[in-house]
Every structure is written in structure tokens, then in C-alpha cells.
């Protein structure tokens, strides 16, 4: 480890490295709280990718053209890949994927609440790509410079692949908005449902986000929730206007003084309710994951048993 200040305590040395924007690598000394926070954040991120496959996955079989089907399948497949990169990054901190999955399945670990909302029409595939992935990218791009090396490297890969996701979503929206009136209605209706939940993706207000300060200090978070939310609104309102759609918030207007959009208050009661597991799809999403894992157990066991037999035979031969 590059020693910046040999006379300081390990904690102070660690912080000095972070402040110098040096990366922390798996075997380096790190405060236990940093390790725990990272495992929580990275695994939560990985779980979000995994559970995030479900709301879009259920439209792969209903995609309206062969081209859209291929794109959607490739996109949802990417999410499996992203989950895998992130689980791997977390595993360098001394946890196992099985342990992380057990925590997801028991409800101990969280994932992004956005995936507890149902996808009800084809336009939802547009909104998930355009809005949800748009919000995710805002969250993720700064993480490419996060202080923990394996996490930062995983995020570089994720962001590189993610860039097509938002574009395909926007393209779906654009095609709908330029199509028949029934398609444009479909697009508006989906936007109405997804707008507010997407704003919730950035998490509680800064004042209600007790972990933010420490996470910023450790550079495992690089912008506050409210900063990112504002950035998102500023980015999306003009795009909605371009599409000829209306964001479902009467309070949205350009503030010349702040050079940013003013917007209304998120329904925090709904936010906490879904976080606590009372969203429409919380139960189904988790159930689907538990089922896949349990029904896959015999497959995983068989592969291990076969590998062991092979090894044994090779040893005898």
C-alpha cells in the first residue's frame, strides 16, 4: 500500500489515501465499517440488476417485432451480466454469492424499489429504458471513480454496456410517440406511472439520508441524492418535451435564477411503503428469485458432483 502518512493511525492513513483519490484494493487494510457498507451497497446493486431482469423479462415473449425481441433479450441478458460483475466485486470483500443471495431471499438485503412496480404495457419497456436506466446511469457513472477498485472496475464495464439500454428505451418511446394516437396514449400513460417512482430511485432526501455523509467521505458515493435527482429532472424534462409528452407534475417549471427545473414533492409515504416491502410486486419478485434459486439447486449440485467424479477418475488414471 502506498503510505502517504506513515506516522498516522491505519484509519487516518486509509482516509488520506481516499482523499488523494487512490483506490483501495481487496487485500488492503480497510475499516470494518467501510467493508460492511461496501458489501451492503454492492450487493444491493447486484440484487437490483438481478431482480431488475424480471419486470422487463416478462415482455421478451411479447415484444412486438423480431428486432425488438432481440434487443430486449440482449438488454435483459446484460443485466444478468451486470449482476454477475457486481457480485464478483462484492466477493472480493470476503462474502460469497450464496450468502448474498440468502440475504436477498430472506428479505435482509434490499434491492431498488423501482422493480416492485409492474410493467403493464409495451410502453413500459420504453420507460424502463429511458427513465429507469437514465436514472441508473446518473447514479452509476460517478461510481466508476468510486474508492474501492473492484467496484469501480465493475462499474466501468457496466456503464459501457448500459449506454445502449437508455437509447433503446428512448427509441421505443420515440417510435410510439410518432406512431398512431393509441401508441402515443400508451407512451403517456406509461410515463404517468413511471415518473414518480423513478424520482424515488435516488433515495430519500439528503436530510433523511444518514449514511450519505460517511459514504461521501469514503468516496463510495460521489453526489448526494438530491443533487442527482435535480440533475435527472433537468435532463429528462426537455427530453419529454421533445417526445411531445407531459411529465405528470404540475409544479415542473424552469427556474431562471437557479438555472434548473423546480419540481414537486415525491410522495415519501409511498416511497417508504415500497421500501418496506408493501409494493405491488415485492412479493412476486422475491418469490420468482427464490424459486429460480431453489429449482436450480439440483442442477448446481449435479454439475459439482460430475466435476468431482471426473477429477477422481483423472486421479486414478
Amino acid at each position: 500500500m502506498e503510505t502517504l502518512a506513515p506516522d498516522l493511525s491505519p484509519e487516518a492513513q486509509f482516509q488520506a489515501r481516499i482523499d488523494a483519490d487512490l483506490r483501495i484494493e481487496p487485500k488492503d487494510w480497510m475499516p470494518e465499517a467501510y467493508r460492511k457498507t461496501l458489501i451492503r451497497q454492492i450487493s444491493q446493486h447486484a440484487h437490483s440488476e438481478l431482480v431488475g431482469m424480471l419486470p422487463e423479462g416478462n415482455w421478451i415473449t411479447r415484444a412486438p417485432s423480431l428486432k425488438r425481441k432481440a434487443i430486449l433479450l440482449a438488454k435483459v441478458q446484460d443485466e444478468a451480466g451486470h449482476g454477475l460483475y457486481l457480485y464478483s466485486a462484492a466477493e472480493t470483500l470476503g462474502t460469497s454469492r450464496d450468502q448474498m443471495l440468502a440475504d436477498l431471499h430472506s428479505g435482509k438485503a434490499k434491492y431498488s424499489s423501482i422493480f416492485n412496480y409492474p410493467t403493464l404495457s409495451w410502453a413500459d419497456m420504453g420507460c424502463v429504458g429511458w427513465l429507469v436506466d437514465g436514472a441508473a446511469i446518473l447514479n452509476q457513472v460517478p461510481l466508476c471513480r468510486t474508492s474501492y477498485g473492484p467496484y469501480a472496475r465493475a462499474m466501468v464495464r457496466v456503464c459501457k454496456e448500459e449506454s445502449f439500454h437508455q437509447r433503446q428505451g428512448f427509441e421505443i418511446m420515440q417510435t410510439l410517440c410518432e406512431g398512431a394516437p393509441v401508441q402515443k396514449e400508451m407512451a403517456q400513460e406509461a410515463l404517468n406511472r413511471w415518473w414518480w417512482p423513478t424520482l424515488m430511485m435516488f433515495g430519500p432526501k439528503d436530510a433523511d439520508s444518514p449514511n450519505t455523509e460517511q459514504s461521501m467521505k469514503w468516496r463510495i458515493k460521489r453526489f448526494t441524492n438530491d443533487e442527482l435527482r435535480q440533475k435527472f429532472v433537468d435532463m429528462m424534462v426537455p427530453q419529454a418535451e421533445f417526445l411531445g409528452l407531459k411529465v405528470p407534475d404540475e409544479k415542473v417549471r424552469w427556474n431562471e435564477e437557479r438555472q434548473a427545473y423546480d419540481f414537486g414533492e415525491v410522495d415519501w409515504e409511498e416511497f417508504w411503503n415500497v421500501v418496506k416491502g408493501n409494493g405491488l410486486c415485492n412479493h412476486e419478485r422475491l418469490q420468482a428469485r427464490v424459486q429460480a434459486h431453489e429449482e436450480g439447486a439440483w442442477v448446481r449440485e449435479a454439475a459439482l458432483a460430475h466435476a468431482a467424479k471426473r477429477k477422481e477418475r483423472a486421479a486414478v488414471a
Binding site: L50, M53, L54, G57, I60, T61, R62, A63, P64, S65, L66, K67, R68, K69, A70, L73, A74, V76, Q77, A80, G81, G83, L84, Y87, W122, I172, T175, L176, G179, A180, V182, Q183, A288, Q291, A292, E295, G296, A297, W298, V299, R300, E301, A302, A303, A305, H306, K309
Partner: protein, 269 residues
């Protein structure tokens, strides 16, 4: 997107006489339907695989087959010459018009079912593409050349999994045996020519199934031996899919696949 690079000469549908053209259209459509339906089934696994790595593998196979299906549909549309598109062919034909063999429309079942279905198909598909690649129709040869590389990988994947499940745990063996007992009867249709296929084979335009069989059988024998699974006694083959007589499963599959196009006819997505 999925169309291999083709020279302009290859892109122009060959000047087949009208009747032959229509026969070839039926044949290419059958190839397209087969790859599409299997891709669709495999895509149902997405998000539900036994382990994340295999979720990605199954999606990769599905994407390969979907790309192949699109190349065939595009060629079929040109052969037909009535202005229909790949999507018209995939989304606006009913179950009785679909020409895929029964095997590929069978539901995913558990992972053992999916592996056995895939193995039976891959083993045939790989040999078929080898034949098509050297066939006289330049367009089919070009599609086959690209798809053959993919099919070789698919066959490796399904063969290795069949071996793992057969020679894994008692539980995996029990499930594999059940899948074989259920699905083996659909294998025969793959290499049983329809009247249309027979005529095209006699003309030397498409591979003769009889010529593919020895290599296929050798591979089955090899893989089953590795899997410690006895060769099943040939069951009575279930036929019909390739002439439009399908199992009940296809109707549900198409209802889902075609839902948007049927609900909102004539729109662009």
C-alpha cells in the same frame, strides 16, 4: 442486424421457376419457424435460470437462434415476393400455418427438459447446417455458414450438460431420464422428410436427411455413453409440426408472441 454479409449476387433471390420457388419458400419458412420457436422458448428462461452464468448462456443461444430465424424469414419473404416482411411472417400466421417440428414447441419444463430438447435439436441443426453450407442455394449457404459456428457451440453446451446431468447426482439422473422418456419421441420428426422436403432433397437443393443420420447417431451414442445413460429404444416418432399439425402448446406460445401485432394491427413498433 442478423443478416450475414452477402454479395449483391447472393442477395438477389435466384431465378427459380415459380413452383420450385414456392417449395423453397415453404422450406425456408420451416427453418425460420423452427429457430424462432426454440429461441422464444429459451428466452422464457431469462431471469429464471439455475445460476446467473447459465442464464447468460441460455440467452446467448436464444439470441443466436433468433438472429438465424430473422435471416431465414427475410429470405423467405423475398422468395415469396408478395411484399411480406419478417414480422408479417412471424406475427401474422396462425398455429396451423407454422411449420416448426413438434420438438421445439415443447415447454421448457425443468432444466433437464430444456437440455434434452436442446441436445436433440442441436445435434440435428449442426449436421443440417453443414449440409446447407455446401448446398447450391447461395443464400442458404451463407446463412448456414454463419449459423454453423453458433450451432457448434450450442451442441457443445447441450452435450456437456447432458453428460453432467446423466453422470451427476441420482436426482439429476432421475430428471434426465424423465426428460428423455418424454422428449425422445419428438426427435424422429427432425429427420423424417415431408413431401416438400423429399422433393427438394431429390433435386439436390437441400441436404438429404438420410445422409445426416450416421453422424447424428454417432454423436448421440458418444454423449449418452459419457453420460452413462443407455440408448433409448427408438419410440414411435410423433410427426406433424412440419405440416402444421401441432401440439396444443404452440397456440399459447403464439398468443403471447403475437399479442401486440394482433391487438393493434398494422402499426410500427
Amino acid at each position: 442486424m442478423a443478416t450475414p454479409d452477402l454479395s449483391p449476387a447472393q442477395l438477389a433471390a435466384p431465378a427459380y421457376p415459380a413452383e420450385l420457388r414456392s417449395q423453397l419458400f415453404q422450406y425456408v419458412l420451416q427453418l425460420a419457424d423452427t429457430s424462432l420457436i426454440l429461441a422464444h422458448r429459451l428466452s422464457e428462461w431469462c431471469g429464471h435460470g439455475p445460476v446467473l452464468e447459465q442464464d447468460l448462456a441460455l440467452s446467448n443461444i436464444a439470441l443466436d437462434l433468433l438472429g438465424e430465424a430473422r435471416s431465414y424469414y427475410q429470405y423467405a419473404a423475398e422468395l415469396e415476393g408478395r411484399g411480406r416482411t419478417e414480422d408479417d411472417l412471424a406475427y401474422l400466421r396462425s398455429a396451423v400455418e407454422y411449420r416448426n417440428p413438434l420438438l421445439v414447441e415443447q415447454p421448457n419444463g425443468d432444466f433437464a427438459y430444456t437440455v434434452v430438447r436442446q441436445f436433440l435439436f442441436d445435434n440435428f441443426h449442426y449436421q443440417l447446417l453443414k449440409g446447407l453450407q455446401n448446398g447450391p442455394d447461395a443464400r442458404l449457404a451463407a446463412i448456414a455458414e454463419k449459423s454453423l459456428k453458433e450451432a457448434a457451440y450450442h451442441l457443445k453446451w447441450s452435450s456437456e450438460w447432458l453428460i453432467r446431468l446423466g453422470d451427476g447426482t441420482p436426482e439429476s439422473r432421475r430428471r434426465l431420464d424423465k426428460a428423455i422418456a418424454t422428449l425422445w419421441r419428438f426427435a424422429g420428426e427432425l429427420t423424417t422428410p415431408t413431401p416438400n422436403e423429399s422433393q427438394l432433397q431429390e433435386l439436390g437443393l437441400v441436404p438429404d436427411y438420410a445422409a445426416l443420420l450416421p453422424a447424428m447417431q454417432a454423436h448421440v451414442a458418444h454423449v449418452l455413453a459419457e453420460a452413462t445413460v443407455p440408448l433409448p429404444t427408438a419410440p414411435v416418432a410423433q410427426l406433424g409440426g412440419k405440416t402444421g399439425r401441432h401440439s396444443e402448446h404452440l397456440g399459447y406460445l403464439l398468443a403471447e408472441l403475437q399479442y401486440l401485432q394482433r391487438t393493434y394491427p398494422g402499426l410500427t413498433w
